[in-house]
Symmetry: C2
Subunit: 163 residues, 2 copies
């Protein structure tokens, strides 16, 4: 099995796969009489003509090393995960290689940061490393077509702690 070490994430490293959403850097707007910094419209939301919804996911925390058997993508919509805790979490993504995932990359998403997978981007399922594994999820909740494609690896990858 191939071992993939977890990397620290940066916006540049994550850009091929999606957006990082956080409140770092200067705000785009200061609202509420100076009491709130608005970091505005930070995700490329694309519902492919379907309807957007907000759901709450409660995922079982995983332990490292993590065996990656499967990745998935959503051909018809982006999918945004905003943590409802202050814990970091693991995100696994991959470029496309002729209809299946290329070698995956694994990122540790730091506290106070969400991710938005762009439409049709290969990613692992939600993998919190701490409980509770609660996330607000903004994705396509209705519309025509099949919005899930899965790929099972013949040989799983092993995701390990930071190299």
């Amino acid at each position: 099995m191939t071992t993939i070490p977890i990397m620290d994430v940066t916006a540049a490293r994550f850009a091929p796969y999606g957006d990082l959403l956080d409140a770092r850097g200067p705000a785009d707007m200061v609202i509420n009489q100076g009491m709130c910094n608005r970091h505005h419209d930070r995700a490329r939301i694309d519902m492919g003509g379907g309807d957007v919804g907000v759901s709450v996911f409660d995922a079982t925390p995983r332990r490292l090393p993590y065996q990656l058997d499967l990745m998935e993508r959503h051909p018809l919509g982006s999918q945004c995960f905003m943590p409802m805790t202050e814990h970091p979490f693991l995100v696994i993504v991959a470029a496309d290689d002729g209809g299946k995932p290329a070698r995956p990359e694994a990122f540790l998403i730091p506290p106070h940061t969400g991710v938005n997978f762009h439409r049709n981007t290969w990613h692992g399922v939600l993998t919190p490393l701490h409980g509770p594994g609660l996330f607000a999820v903004i994705d396509r909740v209705s519309g025509d077509g099949v919005n899930l494609e899965e790929h099972v690896f013949d040989t799983p990858y092993v995701i390990t702690g930071q190299g």
Copy 2:
């Protein structure tokens, strides 16, 4: 000044104003090979023909008693606030009374819970009670029309701890 005690929130009490989003009760779907409970599509999202976006708000925590000078509403879109921490937060809402807020109600939103204000619902600005005051916000980020109406009270209300 009129004092308004903070109430515990329930879905029934909050229903005239919006939705509560949490992971209580049975999941709507169990996904990811049994590892994730999906509490599906829990907010009435209404962008009034405009575009939805995801932003991050970083609001200054408030202390009680809190003086409520102003409420606002968004005639063209719902607005959903999902906490990015495990802290409770304060939400103030009001029915409409001929174009201005009726007597406000104040709710303590418990940990692991978000709120979605329905389109054109009077509400106070974001009022966390603990730092960091970080929220994922799902609201209307572009489209025609003016999506903000504010009302300043002649006499402020005072929001106090739970009665």
